[in-house]
Symmetry: C2
Subunit: 92 residues, 2 copies
């Protein structure tokens, strides 16, 4: 494996698992007022499209990475909606 491939794999793992600390933080604090609902609606839909794209072109790495990414961002989106009511300030 050359340096580019190694970098690509590390990049894929990082941009996929980056959402774990955010999900953990929300579960712990139950506070989501600073998190943009718009961001997670667009991001989750975009990752879902990447997933369908991966299925259509039959590329397991794209399917797998976006399945993990979708699960995490969808979880954050659900938590954002769930804890929205409990927030004191204006929502965005």
């Amino acid at each position: 494996m050359d340096i580019a491939q190694v970098l690509g794999i590390v990049a894929a793992i990082m941009t996929t698992t980056a959402f774990v600390p955010q999900a953990v933080q929300i579960i712990r604090t139950k506070s989501t007022q600073d998190i943009s609902l718009g961001m997670y609606i667009i991001l989750t839909t975009g990752i879902l499209f990447w997933l369908i794209y991966g299925i259509l072109i039959r590329q397991p790495p794209i399917i797998f990475a976006n399945l993990v990414g979708f699960s995490l961002t969808f979880t954050i989106l659900i938590l954002k909606i769930k804890y929205r009511e409990g927030n004191g300030r204006n929502k965005n």
Copy 2:
């Protein structure tokens, strides 16, 4: 262009621009306590690796998408650090 390619382009645009509403919200509210610092450190670094990967394999779409993505997530990371001090609750 087939359906897979169209879906891939739409997916790329969505997962890149999704960060715009989050950046706008932070600029407006100056509040970042619910946003995970760890997420944006890992995500920004991961996107930087995607960018270097794109340069190494000479793929303009990967370079362009990750240049935009890096600019947006790096902006959110800087805003998170900038407005960290002003937050009342515990940081994560």
